[in-house]
Structures are given as C-alpha cells and as structure tokens.
C-alpha cells in the first residue's frame, strides 16, 4: 500500500475521528485525534494496519497543552498518532489494554511531564528518584535545572 492509499484508508476508516491526516515525507504519516478516540485509533491501527508495534510515545510541552505522539510502525509506514491534552487537566487514558508494550513509555510520560495516565497497570516512577519532589517534572518547559550551590567545608566565604 502506498502512502496516499494509506492516508485515504485512514480517512475512510476513522471518519470524523481523524482531525488531521498529513503525509509530509515518504513512509511518514501524522494523524491527529481527540484524546477520547485514542484507544479506538490504536485498536484500529493494531488490527487493520498491522501496527501492533508501538515504537515510542513522545511528550511535548506546548504551553497551554501537552502534545502526545504515539509512534506506531508497520512494514509499510510509520504512523504517528498525535493528541493534545490541556495543561490544567493532564489526563490521558492508558493504551496498555491495546498495546501492553506501552507501559514503560507511559511511566516515563508520568515522570517527565506530570501527566496522569488513567488505568495504567503500574504507576511507579520509572526514571526519577524516590525522593524526587512530586511537583517537579523535568521535561516541562518551565522546569529549569538549578545546580545546588557548592559548599566547601571549612571554606572562608
């Protein structure tokens, strides 16, 4: 299936759920859906597009919203499903019932962006330390790393 056929098929299958379908490059398809239809889109991709393989989930801080990109891949194309959640209510449903391999990426999202993944089977932090402040999320744009002041024992200053 060529890229154009894939884009057409996606438009037909998803109907109004597909807010945007773009094909900026060979084998690269960007699909935008509302957060509510993410699970449906993932199920469709898994069952009818041979995209059982989720390569990664990228989070992006866009100020008012967080953008999430689910990178699916089949042998034909790389289909990236984009969705946006508001910063004031950063909730997204877990896609692990559809793609069990997504668990680590969802845990990473929770750590790095402070998103709440509803229905995640394992909500422990993945990469952040146990004593990390709960409201600090390093990949948010307003989070800046402050190096603690160096204290030299016995130093005159």
């Amino acid at each position: 299936m060529t890229d154009i056929e894939l884009v057409e098929k996606l438009r037909r299958d998803l109907g109004p759920a597909a807010l945007e379908v773009a094909n900026p490059d060979r084998r690269r398809i960007f699909l935008k859906v509302a957060p509510g239809s993410l699970i449906a889109a993932a199920t469709l991709l898994r069952d009818s597009y041979d995209c059982a393989y989720l390569a990664a989930i990228t989070g992006l801080d866009k100020g008012e919203t967080f953008e999430l990109l689910y990178h699916f891949a089949s042998t034909e194309a790389n289909i990236n499903v984009r969705t946006e959640v508001p910063r004031t209510a950063p909730h997204i449903a877990s896609i692990t019932p559809v793609i069990p391999g997504a668990i680590l990426y969802e845990r990473e999202l929770q750590d790095m962006f402070g998103l709440v993944v509803d229905g995640i089977p394992d909500a422990r932090p993945l990469v952040l330390p146990d004593d990390w402040p709960a409201e600090d999320h390093p990949l948010r744009k307003d989070w800046k790393f402050q190096r603690p002041a160096e204290i030299i024992p016995g130093d005159k200053s």
Partner: protein, 400 residues
C-alpha cells in the same frame, strides 16, 4: 514459598547499573521486576539547550558501544529538517561506519554470551578478533569508540585507496575467523545445550510487548528498519534479514551470527560501490520549523529519534528511544519460569545497554526479600517441579 532476591544495581553479572528484583520459588523465577533510573542523565532536556552541531556530539555520547547509531539517527533527521541532501560518497561512508560498528558490537556480544554461558575461550577468541574491526574504525575515524564521523550534510573524514584495501583485508580475515567460530558450536554440544531453550519468548508475546532488534528477530519477527524503512543507501545494497524461530537464547545467537555475515557482505559492497565526489555539503545554522521521525537499525534494534524544530538553531524537542528500553517488558517475560542461574544469560541476550536506555541521577534503596522457613515437603515439591521445568531441548543442534 516465595522469596525476593535483589540483583543489582551493582552486581558482578551486570556490567551496568540496573536493579532486577526476582521473586523466586526454589530455583524457579516466578516474577521479575526491573528498576531503572540509576544512570539517567537528562540528555533530552540538555539537548534543548544545545545547538544542532553540539547535539551531534551529545547524541553520540548517549551510548559507548553504539555511539555512531545515535548520532546517525540524529543527523539523518536534522538533514531532512534542513532540507539538505548529503553527497552519495558521504552517505556510503556514514553507513560503512555503521556496519563496522555493528560488527564490533555483535562480536562483543558473542563474547559476552560465551562468557555468561561459561565458555570463556569463545569470549577470548571473539574479543581478539573484535580488535581487527576496532583497528579499522580507528584507521577511518581516528577513534576506537566515539568516531565523530557524522556532520550535518555528510561525514567529516574521507578514505583513500590504501584504506579501502585494508578494510577489505580486515573483513576477509574476520569472515574466515567468524566462520571458524560458528563451526565450533557444532563440536561444542555443551555450549549449545546451555543456551537452547533458555529465555523463551513466543512470537505472540514479542509482538504484544513491542520487542525490537535481534530479540524480536529470534522470535521470527522479520522487523529490520534497514529493510522496511530503507534510509539512504540500504535499498541499493543486497542483504538479508537474519531471523530464527527457536525463540530462545540460541536463536538470538544465530540471528547475530547471520547479521555478522550480512554486515561483512554489506561492507564489501559499500567499498566496491563507493562513489566519487565530495563527502559533505555545507549545512545551514538554523533548521526550518517542522518535525521529523528518524529511524535507524542500531545493533540492538530500532533506534527512534523524534526531532521538532522551532526555526532556531536549537531543537524544540529531541526524543530518544533506545532499543534496550523497548526490550525490557519482553525480558521480564523471558525471565519468568526460568532458573536463577539463567538470569545473566537471559539478561545478556537482549544485549542490554543501560546507558542508552536512560538519559538524572538517582539513589534508591533496594530492600531485600524476607526470609522464611521452608518445610521439607515444599522443598521436595520444588525439586520435582524443577525437573519438569528443565528446558525441553535436550538434543539441540547448532544450526550452522
């Protein structure tokens, strides 16, 4: 009766910091939990403060073994954003180094697999031969580990006729040596028996858990980015994707052996087909606003970089997904119902690269499991169960 055994973050069987917590019943692992974060360096956050050129060298330092993989994945994405096309010669040289790197990584892994299986002479032989490819890489790039070959728009160093001859010579020696080692398997049944039937991962599970690279290919999934998403030169070259259907550590050895032979083929083709011309074009300082998903087949599996640009000389976002992270959920399944003695072997079989998978600094307490008194009847039951759990493949054969 269940115990919890913590392994790591520092442990002689693991070369890098990771914590595995095993729930065991006798010798049999019932559940495994992987704890990450000991080596997280915040590369993604740092990348947002560096410009495009600096980021090439930053991404190269994500990993020590597959350093070229990350930088190649990054530059091929940024080149798309900047709308520049590197010259053919530059591309051939870039992917020539990629294949040499794959050879060095797989030879390293074969040695580690031999070592974990208790076959140390195999380890010494493969690592001796790995020096040949390390010397070639040093000759091409001036470095053994961080080659710094990539620049935006091509590569930084050219090779001459004498170097071409040396590479061909080195590959011929490596092929001969590799073929000899692969015959060793047939005359060393204890090695094959040790790795056959260990760390089973069925195809269904591998698909469900999104495994990548040789781990997936050993469970008969033919997923290779070089074939399905051919970047630059791979669609002009002849090579096959190595797969195995035994779904165990033996299969993972077989896949890597096949990939080694395919890489030798690719290197020879690249040298023979090497076009004339420039090796690089000049790249602009800024990239246009846009986004790109860059995929690359690293020695350990698919490497994915998502790069978003906002029109300045710095990326808005760089997302790195290293292959090892994708293979962790599958590793837990591989460990389940295996033996404690197989942990290093199974874990080594995904060729874990912790520094790749993690990019902050953490300190975590690892609590040990509680001890309990085990009644004799339980021990007997365990002993009986163990026999039924022994890998079924008693008469495994070396496939070469």
């Amino acid at each position: 009766m269940k115990f919890q055994i913590p392994i790591g973050p520092q442990h002689p069987a693991l070369k890098e910091p990771i914590s595995l917590r095993m729930t065991v019943e006798g010798e049999v692992i019932r559940d495994a939990d992987i704890r990450l974060g000991y080596n997280h360096r915040g590369v993604e956050k740092l990348a947002e403060e560096k410009n495009w050129i600096q980021n090439i060298y930053l991404t190269e330092r994500i990993c020590g073994i597959c350093s070229h993989s990350h930088s190649t994945c990054f530059v091929q994405g940024v080149e798309k954003l900047m709308e520049i096309v590197p010259p053919r010669r530059g591309l051939y040289l870039r992917y020539l180094v990629s294949e040499l790197e794959r050879v060095h990584s797989h030879l390293l892994w074969l040695g580690v697999a031999g070592h974990e299986a208790g076959f140390d002479s195999f380890f010494m032989y493969t690592w001796r031969d790995r020096e040949i490819v390390m010397d070639l890489l040093e000759m091409i790039s001036g470095n053994r580990v961080h080659y710094a070959m990539n620049c935006l728009g091509g590569v930084r160093r050219d090779i001459d006729e004498a170097q071409k001859a040396k590479i061909l010579e080195g590959v011929a020696v490596l092929r001969k040596r590799s073929e000899y080692y692969f015959r060793i398997g047939a005359s060393e049944p204890s090695f094959v028996a040790r790795i056959a039937g260990v760390g089973m991962l069925t195809k269904e599970l591998a698909v469900k858990l999104c495994a990548v690279g040789p781990t997936a290919r050993a469970s008969s999934i033919t997923r290779d980015v070089r074939k399905e998403d051919p970047c630059a030169v791979y669609d002009e070259l002849d090579f096959a994707v190595g797969t195995a259907d035994s779904c165990d550590v033996l299969g993972r050895v077989v896949v890597r052996v096949q990939e080694l032979l395919e890489s030798y083929k690719l290197i020879e083709q690249m040298i023979h087909k090497l076009p004339d011309g420039d090796i690089a074009v000049k790249a602009p300082r800024k990239a246009k606003a846009g986004e790109v998903v860059s995929r690359y087949e690293a020695p350990r599996g698919e490497n994915l970089h998502y790069i978003k640009s906002n029109g300045t000389d710095k990326p808005e976002r760089l997302k790195v997904r290293a292959p090892t992270l994708a293979n962790y959920p599958a590793t837990v399944e591989m460990l389940r119902n295996g033996f404690i003695a197989d942990i290093p072997l199974i874990f080594a079989a995904i060729d874990p690269c912790i520094c790749c998978a993690e990019r902050t600094v953490t300190l975590v307490n690892v609590r040990s499991g509680e001890e309990t008194i085990v009644p004799l009847s339980d021990l007997r039951r365990q002993a009986a169960e163990r026999r039924t759990n022994v890998p079924a493949k008693r008469n495994a054969v070396w496939p070469f």
